[in-house]
Symmetry: C2
Subunit: 391 residues, 2 copies
């Protein structure tokens, strides 16, 4: 059974079709797992083989096309009718002579959808260059259009049902960070802390079981605090070292990321204390201006002005839109909180603000996962905004 | 510090260059995270943005090019010298006007590598259609060649150091399956079982901490046993239902997958018992012929002949090569154990045999993760090959 009502999927498809019409797209071929899930409910770890969802302006329901062994998964998890679940034979998988796009192209021709314009996700990881080449060669009458983030932009404003899922994810996020703060201590192996964190993520709360987030726990300690995006080793935590934690709670693939910094010991370096103060003030100043109607780049500007008095210069974006997602990223690829992003904030957009610092001499992470409201915003979870010092 | 000796990376690079020469490739552009890791040691969860490793026939060391904030991660985890770690500015990330391939193309021109042939991974998920288009437009003097699984094929025969890592992964796999068998019981929520399994995966053994496998726990229960590739829900396990487990132990991104089936209750359906018997015999008959010199398709043939007396017909491949990997797949995309695969088995190839059955009326999973030896094979772990009935 899909996790939302059929009506919710139909609304999403209707919004997608509006954007297709605006872009002159007759048929949309979607390979991004989160976009496939968003439009149909399909939820399988099958995105290591080629698969897609087709949305035609001519037909109410989308069509799922995937590997034969995954068709029952589509029957179980999506809202699609039997005639809209199509399976290709296994010898298409990782073959050098056959390609799943041949099967998909045959279906498109059979439906007579090969004469119009076809939108594909040209810069998404799950649609390869060869996918494009095979599709183009198989459908000589079609005109291909880049629809790279078309569905991502439909996803930008969440329904109330989605917001509820993200609040459940937020409750899990609190449990996850509590677990991390409890277990991380000098002498403990990083991998054992990761184990406890993952258990908190997957287990979730008593009311709502957790899901796997699109990114595994990122937990840089000691020297590694000068970079984001590392995971864990089997080293033991040391006295007087910092630990950066970029974690998450997830509920049915909806995300509430949570990032904090722990210092293990009594003597945090002055540079870390100073950096934490500047970043926390900067984050607060950015949050203070957030409400419906504000332009995204103004949020970054508020942050930048706030930290201008300090020596800190941050050249990378300080946030992005979040929602439903699959590995490798919980970012939505729509809003990036940086100069030049002219998106106007609207109620039920959900943003992850993470002004992380990864300098050679100091690292610091803190974040806020928020829902935009008419007059301001609400946090997806309540958690202290501070540097944790664990003596 | 990279996890292998510099000498090991140089051997891998040398083998890669041999294959490049054979294929007439002067410069290889690698985006697959496992291939990047294999050639340089680089290990960051940064594969949600564009990045690559360049291997030139003209230069001993490869070059890592990635996002600015990940360069320190490359300095920490790879064996590369400082001059071979190049970082692009953050406004290339998910931009509609700039693309990281512009930065990469500029570097290729600067080095004078744009006049020869360039191999790219045309059907890998981390090299998009737009990556190709931007690269081609930026490098008009280059000739592009498909090098889709070139490095994957170099990875096929493992070094002794890699085999040792996979045996450590095997020890973790045993712990993971023991944990699953212990925790899964009627009344327990699937998500809580997943939590315990993930903790076993990440924590690893006392000697060797675990890593995140390239695939999260796949654990289909009840109706879901008619499909692979689903994860977990917050439903509670029922008395008299089957649970299919496709799990894994991982050590520094090297994998030892382990799949078993548990029946919860006293009355397993006769069809499940019969299926288990046929599949276990078929797996054993396939294993019996495995040794260096055997052709891969002969292994599948032995399986097929073994089960021919039964009603079971399996149209999907029964195995594939494994080793180092990152999400979304622990399969290597080289050997597929199916008709037509003419690869000759050689010592230190490592194969995951998984003749899974996912029919509407019965599901059954069992596997063997093995290392090919001169006269046969060795299991990566010792674990009973049977259907577990938990009364």
């Amino acid at each position: 059974m899909p996790v939302f009502e059929r009506e919710e999927y139909l609304q999403r498809i209707s919004k997608t079709k509006e954007k297709m019409s605006e872009a002159g797209i007759d048929l949309l071929l979607i390979s991004h797992p989160a976009n496939m899930n968003y439009l149909t409910g399909y939820d399988g770890w099958s995105f290591y083989v080629h698969q897609c969802v087709l949305v035609s302006l001519e037909q109410e329901e989308p069509v799922w096309l995937g590997r034969g062994m995954d068709a029952n998964g589509a029957r179980i998890t999506s809202f699609l009718s039997e005639e809209n679940i199509l399976e290709y034979a296994d010898d298409y998988v990782q073959s050098t002579v056959k390609h799943p796009m041949h099967f998909i192209a045959d279906y498109i021709k059979e439906k007579g959808w090969d004469k119009g314009s076809i939108g594909v996700e040209m810069d998404q990881f799950f649609f390869t260059h060869r996918s494009y080449v095979e599709l183009e060669a198989s459908l000589p009458n079609a005109r291909f259009v880049d629809a790279n983030t078309l569905v991502n932009w439909v996803r930008l404003i969440k329904s109330n049902a989605e917001i509820e899922f993200m609040r459940r994810a937020g409750k899990i996020a609190v449990k996850v960070m509590d677990t991390a703060r409890k277990v991380i201590a000098p002498g403990v192996r990083e991998c054992d802390a990761a184990a406890a964190i993952a258990a908190a993520q997957y287990g979730g709360t008593e009311e709502h079981g957790g899901d796997y987030p699109a990114i595994v726990p990122l937990m840089m300690a000691g020297e590694a605090t000068k970079t984001p995006h590392l995971t864990w080793t089997d080293k033991r935590y040391q006295q007087e070292e910092a630990v950066l934690l970029e974690l998450c709670g997830a509920y049915k693939h909806y995300h509430a990321p949570i990032a904090r910094t722990i210092y293990l010991g009594k003597n945090p370096p002055q540079l870390m204390l100073d950096t934490a103060k500047v970043v926390l003030e900067g984050l607060q100043d950015a949050l203070n201006i957030i409400k419906s109607g504000v332009v995204v780049e103004e949020v970054e500007e508020a942050w930048r002005k706030s930290i201008a008095h300090s020596g800190i210069i941050k050249t990378s974006r300080i946030g992005y839109s979040i929602g439903v997602n699959y590995p490798p990223d919980w970012g939505e690829q729509t809003i990036s909180v940086r100069p030049g992003d002219k998106t106007v904030l609207q109620p039920n957009m959900t943003i992850h603000l993470i002004p992380g610092i990864w300098f050679d001499d100091v690292g610091f992470e803190i974040d806020a996962s928020i829902q935009i409201t008419k007059n301001g915003f609400e946090h997806l979870y309540d958690y202290p905004l501070e540097l944790f010092i664990k003596k």
